[in-house]
Every structure is written in C-alpha cells, then in structure tokens.
C-alpha cells in the first residue's frame, strides 16, 4: 500500500481491504467510510465562518459574540469564577446532579423493570403507571418539584431521577424479555436455582439493553439538568447561561452552550468506551 492510500484510509475517505473492491456501496452502510476528512473540514469551516463573520463585523456581537470574546470570558471565568462559583464548580454542580439523579434512577428503575419482566403482579400493577409517566417530559414537573423542594439541589435531583427512572425501567424490562428461552432452560437443566438463573443468566443477558438505556438516560439527564437550571438554580452551567442572558452577556451564554455540548459529547464517548469494555459480546451472539 502506498503512503497516500494509507493516508486516505486514515482520513476515512477510502475503504481498505476487500471493501475497496465492492461495486455496490450505495445502501451497504458497512462500505461507507467514516469520512473523517470531512469532519475535520466541517469543524474548520464553521470556525472560519464564525471568525470571519465577527472580524468583518457582519453580526452584532450582542446577538453572536466573536470567538475571541468567548475565549476571553473562558479565561476570565476560569480565573475568577462566575457568580460566587468557579467554572469547575458550575460544571461539577450540573454533573453532580445528573450523577445522583441518574444513579438513583438506575437503582430503582432496573430492579423494577426486572420485576415487571418476571412477575405477573408487578407487570400488571406498574404497567399503567410507567406507560402514563413515560411520555411526560420531565421538565413539565419543574413547577411541582420547586413547590415541593424549592430551588435547591433536591428539586433538580428529583427531576433527573424522574427523567432516568422510566427509561431504565423500560430498558431493564426489554432486557429480561430478550433472554432466549433455551438459555433459561439450559440453566435449569444444569441445576441452577431461580436465584441463580436471575443473577447468572437473566442479569448478564440483559446488560446490553440496560447499557443502551443508560446511554439514552444520560443524554436525557444532561439535557434536563441544563434546562432545569435555566429555570431555577444558584449554580450549574444552565444557571450560568441564564444569569448571563439577563445582562445580554452573549459571550458567556455561548461559552456555556459550548461547554454543554462538549460535556454531552464526552459523556457519550465515555459510555460507548465503557460499553465496549464491559459488554464485548454485544451484537455478536
């Protein structure tokens, strides 16, 4: 292989191996390379458009700040903090809320989903409850949780717990449903008890579905926490955005938006890495 070919494969604009010889590629998604070169270009072009737009004063900085202004705010807030909290504290406040809400949602949602998959009483009892609450956007509960718990930590955590709970219930239930009957039969024939079947067959077998649920729940939680902080909070990235908007400080608003985007992206990459590490058999059974 020539150096140029290697480079093309690295940049994701050409396939290697046998895929290169495929004549049918439209519709064969495995034959479509990831196009990394275009990703690099798109980020670059967007950056240039932003920079040039500001440099040529095409946009009023009140509507959209210059990259330099956002960077300056980043440096300043990293140094001195914003509204009584350092930048890291704001980020951590948001992360802490989703971690706690998400964890409690998993701790209650997964066993509940399992119970609904395994027991007639639990399935019947909780089915209408889950189906009713599931389609309600968690943000619709903000007024209620503020009345119950004020604007402190508890109201946000409660909201995020709610956001994660239904997703995890449904994921765990789907996981139980995905167990092949022959696996269950095999385990009983090998002398396993009900408890052993639960922990050694049903639980590991449903991990792929549970993990998919966790990824979805994490995404929803991150979106919900930012939105909740926009409404009522004293710290957090969402609070930063909201507070800055009251002073028309769009540079801080945009800084906050970029941080939200980057952290959301990072969380998903982390979850995917974890998934590949913990559930290597996913999709290979």
């Amino acid at each position: 292989m020539t150096l140029i070919e290697k480079l093309k494969i690295k940049l994701g604009i050409e396939a290697g191996g046998l895929t290169k010889r495929k004549t049918v590629t439209f519709g064969d998604t495995s034959a479509v390379a990831d196009g990394r070169l275009w990703s690099i270009l798109s980020v670059f072009v967007l950056s240039v458009v932003w920079y040039m737009g500001s440099a040529l004063e095409l946009v009023n900085p009140i509507f959209w700040p210059a990259p330099g202004a956002v960077w300056d705010q980043f440096a300043a807030i990293s140094q001195d903090g914003y509204r009584n909290f350092s930048l890291l504290e704001h980020v951590w406040a948001s992360l802490y809320r989703i971690l706690v809400g998400f964890a409690v949602g998993c701790l209650i949602g997964i066993p509940l989903g399992f119970a609904m998959g395994l027991s007639q009483v639990m399935r019947g009892w909780f089915d209408p409850i889950v189906e009713f609450f599931r389609p309600i956007p968690p943000l619709a509960f903000i007024p209620l949780v503020i009345i119950w718990s004020g604007i402190g930590e508890r109201s946000k955590i409660l909201l995020l717990f709610f956001a994660a709970l239904w997703i995890m219930v449904i994921a765990a239930r789907a996981g139980v449903g995905s167990v092949k009957l022959s696996k269950i039969h095999a385990a009983y024939s090998l002398g396993a008890t009900k408890k052993q079947v639960l922990f050694h067959v049903i639980l590991p077998n449903s991990l792929p579905e549970i993990f998919t649920g966790m990824r979805v729940a994490m995404g929803i939680c991150w979106g919900t926490v930012v939105a909740a902080e926009l409404v009522a909070a004293e710290s957090g990235v969402g609070f930063m955005i909201m507070a800055a908007s009251k002073f028309m400080a769009t540079d801080i608003v945009v800084l906050g938006v970029i941080i939200v985007g980057l952290i959301g992206y990072a969380i998903d990459i982390l979850m995917r890495k974890l998934e590949a590490k913990l559930i290597p058999w996913k999709g290979k059974a």
């Binding site: 092949k180 039969h185 024939s189 090998l190 077998n205």
Partner: protein, 270 residues
Amino acid sequence: MSDLVVNDVSMVFETPSGEQVHALNDVSFSLKQGDLLSILGPSGCGKSTLLNIIAGFLAPTKGTVALASTELHGPGSDRGMVFQQGALFEWLTVAENIAFGPQMKGTPKEEIDATVNHLLETVGLQDFGDKPIYELSGGMQQRVALARCLANDPDVILMDEPLGALDALTREKMQSLVLKLWKETGKTIILITHSVEEALFLGEKLFVMAPRPGRIKKQYSLPFADAGLTQNPREIKASPEFIKTREEILTMIWEMEEEIMGLAATGTGG
C-alpha cells in the same frame, strides 16, 4: 440402574381459537441406562413436546415420566439438555460455560478445573478454554454445549436438533463425536433430528412419530450406531442395509407429510 420410563404420556391443549390439539397421545416406552434413542417425524408430531416433557419444562396432561423409579416433576441436573444453538452464555468464556453446572452446585474449584480441563480435551477444544463463545464456529460452539452438559454428569442427555444448524461436513464429524461420547460415558441419550440419515446412524433405537394425534408410529432397533464406533461412517451410510432403511423411513415420512398437506388443502385439517 437409571432407567427412564415414559408411561402413557398424553398432552392435550386448547389453542386460542378453541381448537383441541392432541400433541401426544398415550406415548409409552422405556430406556435402559446407556440406550441411544433417536426420534424422527414430520413437524407437528409432538417430538419436541415429548422431549420438553422428559426434560421437565412441560407437565403432561396425563401419564408420568420416571427416572431410576423416581417420578419427575420439573427440570433437574439429572437430565442435561443440548440445544440447537444459542443456548450458550456468551458473557462467559468456553471454560466458564463448561463450569456453569458444577459452579451452581458449589463444587470445589479444583474439582471444577479438573473436570473442565478433562472435558475440553474430550471435545477437542483444549486450546480454546479462555476464548469467548462468540469467537467460535458453530461446530465448536456445539462441542462446548456437549461438554457443558457432560460437566454435570447427568444420567440422561436430551438433544434437541443439536447438529441442525451445522454444515454437512461439520455435522458428520460431530456425529462421530456424539457416538464417541456415548460410548465413553455410557449415558442414556435421546436425540431429536430432522435428518433421517443422522437418526439412523446415531440411533441404537429409532422412533418414527406421526402427527394428529402425536404418537410413535414405528420403532426400529438398529445396528449402525455400534458399527459407527469402529467402522468408517461413510461406508456405513453407503451400505445397502442403511440405504434400504433410510428409503423406507423417508417414504413413511413423505406419506405423512402428504396427508397433512392434503388435509390442510381440503380444509378438514384440525
């Protein structure tokens, strides 16, 4: 001795549309320890139902199944199962899959390790103990399934089309392995298959079952399994006697299938 006695077993159930299905009608037979029985029949003849009843996954509407004079209720480690495919635990390695039964029973680790190593060698997978299941070919996976079943030292091994998903060559090799394991372990084996050739080659006894109601239509005692231990399988399968029995059974099954189709076509099936 752990004889298996199936006595007067019937299975009748009602479909959601209210139709009565006689999946099995008064099926009786007994097997001595070390017998190898294969069961053939067109779809709907109740052979899977029968196997599930013996395994304890289904309770018959009438009749009993007893092993070593003890009536059976529910599944147990005295009857091992080998399924067609996909019954291995893909989150465990090959060795961990084989160790599953003894581990559930709380067998000491050294003992499990010894059993696992021995069985890995028996099924020819000594270098694959640490491999994940999903990296193995279909034939290798079925070797693991056999070993996992044997690790528990059951009295009876029930096989539900264990070689059905394998390619022809792998299948022949696996048939010889089944014979070898049968001879070495002296287990009672019941094998369900769709392949007449496989049923003839592996079955020391052979039942041909018929549908509506599910019953044993004809029983054979066959010499091929014993011969298969010493002679070349291909020669046995090409022998005039083998071919004659094969054609006889094929004709029988053909006729049953035709009858079912005929019934379905004239709308009198049911």
